[in-house]
Amino acid sequence: MKTISLQDAVAMIPAEATLMVGGFMGVGTPEPLIDELVRQQKRNLTVIANDTAAPGIGVGKLITAKLLRRVIVSHIGLNPETQQQMLAGDLRVDLVPQGTLSERIRAGGFGLGGILTATGVGTIVAEGKQTIAIDGRDYLLEPALRADFALVHAFIADYLGNLSYVLTARNFNPLMAMAADTVVVQAENIVPVGVVSPDHVMTPAPVVDYLVVKG
């Protein structure tokens, strides 16, 4: 794990990169990294996230700034700008059931090629997908998801990069921290090694590549 400034962390991200962004309606989203993406005008990004939050919040800021060409999300209902850009043909929106999305990301980080889920069988989600019957029940084959970068929000990071999350800000963060080539963490608190006891480490340090230092 290396420490890095906010500016340098975002400067690493090329245009057209695929990013996983932690958070659920902006809760548990690393807002400073989002703001810096907007400031540096990183364009044509693909974002994998639970949702596009709302204007002015989390991924919603990337939508407003028109930095995205594609999103892979479970929900866009609270961000009318996402719908407008989608209808105008400026933004591709892939809607994925939330449990399928989280499990595809988990598979991507856990070395699995994909998952089998009954969610979506018999709906338009199943279109173009392989159906596999196991013990008489139909499942959809859903491929794993990975990204170039994961932008992760933690409540506590220690100096080595061990992470702990808080309450409902955990959501997709620990899954995404496993599923990207480069993992960048913004933490509310950066603490000496030992402050987080081993049982309370939710993401072990070796998977973290960069910890954004406080400005």
Binding site: F24, M25, G26, V27, G28, N50, D51, A53, A54, V73, S74, H75, I76, G77, L78, Q83, M86, V93, L95, P97, Q98, G99, T100, S102, E103, I105, R106, T117, A118, T119, G120, V121, G122, T123, I124, V125, F155, Y165, V166, L167, T168, A169, R170, N171, F172, N173, P174, L175, M202
Partner: protein
């Protein structure tokens, strides 16, 4: 609220329950006295409590709409894979969801109106596919048009039929894949239910009136059943 109080009668001690937004959320206000129910928010919380007092909200303790909540004693938090493992893995006893349409066999459409409203399915498809029991809470009609129809014109949420639909007029189930009138709400006639329903309804000869939950003393500030809707 008539619909929510009727659904609350389906709650049993120790159940893990996920409530959707809208009418389903109100079910939490009618939990029968003496039973304890675990409420899940799919963003990663079991033990969701009421809205915090002014000035006491924590930005990292929220419901599935991103709004601040509290956590009850005995609450637990977890990541999204665990949350949906609970939902799909046979651990969720009951989900209560809103509905746009339900077809004759009990299949639900509740996540999009093509070309008009495309919010995304969020957790709805997983909840219907995975919960042990699915109850739909909705108004019987929308702008006078039946919502319980022969075939859904809107995209389905799942091919798994729901267990119960509770409206302000009736309680409808789907035994043997056929829409069947289980109960009519007080003051409603069978003819009124049939007129407001497009699907063919099986009508058992002995049809009960909905048992109306008496408002529990101190059960919260919700209006009593008599003043509902």
């Amino acid at each position: 609220m008539l619909i929510a109080s009727r659904i609350a009668q389906e709650l049993r001690d120790g159940m893990l329950v996920n409530l959707g937004i809208g009418i389903p959320t109100l079910v939490a206000n009618f939990v029968p006295k003496g039973i304890h129910v675990f409420f899940q928010s799919e963003n990663g919380l079991i033990g969701t409590g009421p809205v915090p007092e002014p000035g006491m909200a924590l930005p990292w303790l929220t419901d599935a709409g991103g709004k601040p909540v509290t956590a009850l004693p005995g609450a637990s938090t977890f990541d999204s894979a665990m949350s949906f493992g609970l939902i799909r893995g046979g651990h969720l006893d009951l989900t209560v969801l809103g509905g746009l349409q339900v077809d004759q066999r009990g299949r639900l459409a509740n996540w999009m109106v093509p070309g008009r409203m495309v919010p995304g399915m969020g957790g709805a498809m997983d909840l219907v596919a995975g919960a042990k029991r699915v109850i739909v809470a909705m108004q019987h009609t929308a702008k006078g048009r039946p919502k319980i129809v022969r075939e859904c014109s809107l995209p389905l949420t799942s091919n798994r039929p729901v267990d119960l639909v509770v409206t302000e007029l009736a309680v409808i189930g789907f035994p043997g894949g056929r829409a069947t009138l289980f109960e009519i709400q007080n003051g409603v006639t069978v003819e009124e239910v049939v007129a407001a329903t497009e699907a063919e309804l099986e009508i058992p000869p002995e049809l009960s009136q909905s048992p109306i939950a008496k408002p529990e003393p101190g059960a919260g500030a919700m209006p009593s059943v008599g003043e509902a809707i």
